[in-house]
Amino acid sequence: MDETILRVHSITKRFPGVKALDNIDFDLKRGEVHILVGENGAGKSTLAKVILGAYVPDEGEIFFEGQKVAFKTTRDALEKGIAAVYQEFTLFPYLNVAQNIFFNREPRNKLGIIDHRKMERDAAELLRSLNCEYIDVRAYVKKLSVAEQQMVEIAKALSYSPRIMVFDEPTATLSEREVESLFERIHKLKAAGIGIIYVSHRMQEFKFIGDRITVLRDGKKIGTVGINEVSDKEIVKMMVGRDISQVFHRSANVFSGEVLKTETLSDRAGRVKEASIVLNKGEIVGLAGLVGAGRTELAKLIFGVDPIGGGKVYIHGREVNVTSPVHMVKCGVGMVCEDRKRLGLAVNDSVAWNIMAVSLKKYFPRFIIYYNKAYDIVEKYKTQLRIATPDVLRKCKFLSGGNQQKVVLAKWLSMDTDILIFDEPTRGIDVGAKIEIYGLMDKLASEGKSILMISSELPEIIGMSDRIYVIREGRIVGECKRAEFSTDDIASQMLGIVGDAHAS
């Protein structure tokens, strides 16, 4: 019997402006955990979605158990036995747990009446097998914690009795205990002969569950290796693609004067707890932490998006009353958002008006817009940042990720704020654009701007920061200066390999 359950042959998938997957080969054996890694935007989620039928590839073939398949919808894939636990939730808040697990597959009689009792029994059994019997199958999903919802997602995927399961960064929101029971479950699935594709970038997890690992970078496959054949450092190098020193350039700087200071800053939802940070003039400060650790939440507090629960914010030594982004921009704070398409840009609007969105009132304080002047300003930033668009009136959605990000940066550069918060500034863009953005950050700092950079790309945070704060569960748990960075060690430490050292 052929051990290979799934084979993907030279898949290519294009999106407007980028090749998300370029001629990828991939295979999965029975009872194997195959890990997919890569930086943000490397194509790992896209590959998973192609396998799941959520995307139809432009070129290439997929073979499932030796037979060629062409999934058009996720339903097609599910029927073959390929189920997934997605990063974003697919649950319905006001259906109960059992209804969610068996949604659209409810057991029912000839009249179409659902047998709730059977459904709830089956759901309870599934949850028990995940050691989650504490979850009430009759509770609305809305009432569950995020981690509990995640377990319901997993139970839902399992209820399809799949032969292949895809986990797309499933542990981001789980506690340690829940991660353990998830891994235990994955081991059981392996033993039952199910093939597992595990998308992640948490290094410390790989050795626990992985058998083979495939590294993607910029939509290309870098290689597939056995988990015991490589060191973590080699994996990092495969992911980043070059020596870190070539990518990052940070000029030596003298920092003068405190620009931004927060004092025991908390929000109202309990996701940021008494965070105190300092940002000096000309400094790039990294804020490192996992997704959900409170990094973005802290930034939103400082930028005036979310209401402050407690603590103070000082800018240039003066306490400011943080009320709204409008006010904070007046105080000289700018923010480049993590979610570019949702928060950073109006993708249906033109490049020109996106660039002018913040600074319009600065250039035209008397209410009236002069188009020629506006377009001159736009052209200036288009040239300065080398934004590749044939026409500044082109809609942003037709630009590549890198160029879109440059539009966001141009928007803030034109406002010329002293303090800039960069939340995942290089998410989903190619290496070339990344290097340009790093160069820009260095230049801004040299000009005396201060940057607070949030990132889960650890090489990036080490390469660019003068100082790093580490945030975990809403608290600032560590701080270190650049002088204390020895690149390799900190790279390893930041990537979480230190977690192994702690464990052992």
Binding site: L343, N348, D349, W353, A357, F364, F398
Partner: protein, 319 residues
């Protein structure tokens, strides 16, 4: 300026313009006396109230919100102003009060949508019910005739061959055009319409802009109501009813998207003209006035569907 022309080329207004031209050609072929000077003036005179009302509504729809209370508000303000005139208030004062009342209605809508955070189609629908009810109360079931001449001049008078009401409509449309396309406030409206979250993060005063857009549409509703009454030389509780739907029709026919951000005043004017011609032709052909709401409703559905369809096709082509 060239850039600005480009931006029109990028928009959907061009479809509306072609639609208008086709409608004009068909009408002049099928209807006798359509292209006479008198009939053209009549069309503009009939369209002028719609110009004013839909100009204000354009701002709201550009923000991906809707104001369903425009018709009822204009009727209500007309009724109240008629009572003011009956009470011998000076005409300029009546105009001011009418506009202030419109602003108040707009503020109420803004409050419900911006502060209470109700979906705008519910909030403004509710407000329109209340206003329609209030109009009935204000008129006490009666119709007011015979308004002072100093007032009706605005609706029925002429300057040379041009009706006064057309001139006023042009001035107001020009003002709204200037506000939307030439000021930072106008750009804030577009930013909000394209993506309200991104607008918040771009330091656009989102709530203030929302209020302002609803107030603008309230004020134009007020002016529209006053002129409507001046033109009819009468006021009754239901006079604004037909406009609720016609204003929306004018805006969407003009290429402004219900999804926000795309479109503008030029399109709305084309849309309002097109709609008025349709109604004019229906009148000239002697079609029952009961059928008019149906035609308007179907037009809206057809246009919005066409818009959605072409948008989807465009996305597909890009991919």
């Amino acid at each position: 300026m060239k850039k600005y022309l480009d931006s029109i080329k990028h928009s959907r207004t061009i479809y509306s313009f072609v639609g208008l031209m086709i409608m004009v050609v068909i009408s002049s072929l099928t209807v006798n006396k359509f292209m006479t000077f008198d009939n053209v003036i009549t069309i503009f005179r009939q369209a002028s109230t719609l110009f004013i009302l839909s100009a204000g509504l354009t701002a709201t729809i550009l923000m991906a919100e809707i104001d369903l209370s425009v018709g009822a508000a204009s009727g209500f303000i007309g009724c109240v102003s008629a009572q003011f005139l009956k009470a011998d208030l000076p005409v300029p004062m009546v105009f001011l009060l009418g506009m202030a009342l419109g602003a108040l209605v707009g503020m109420l809508n803004g409050f419900l949508v911006g502060t209470v955070k109700m979906p705008s189609f519910i909030a403004t629908y509710g407000v329109s019910w209340v206003l329609a009810g209030l109009s009935v109360i204000v008129m006490n079931g009666a119709v007011i005739f015979g308004l002072p001449e100093g007032f009706t001049w605005f609706g029925t008078g002429y300057v040379g061959p041009i009706p006064v009401i057309v001139i006023i409509a042009c001035i107001i449309v020009a003002l709204v055009y200037f506000l939307l396309h030439r000021t930072t406030f106008g750009r804030d409206i577009y930013s909000f319409g394209f993506n309200p979250d991104a607008a918040l993060y771009s330091a656009v005063p989102v709530n203030r802009t929302l209020y302002a857009a609803f107030i603008l549409s309230g004020i134009t509703a007020g002016i529209g109501g006053l002129l409507m009454m001046a033109r009819l030389n009468a006021a009754d509780a239901t006079m604004g009813d037909a406009y609720g739907m016609q204003t929306i029709a004018a805006v969407v026919i003009g290429g402004t998207s219900l999804l926000g951000g795309e479109g503008g005043i030029v399109g709305t004017i084309i849309g309002a003209l097109l709609l008025t011609i349709v109604v004019n032709v229906m009148n000239l052909l002697g079609i029952s006035s009961f059928a008019q709401p149906m035609v308007v409703g179907l037009l809206i559905l057809a246009v919005v569907m066409f818009d959605t369809y072409t948008r989807a096709m465009q996305e597909k082509l890009i991919e």
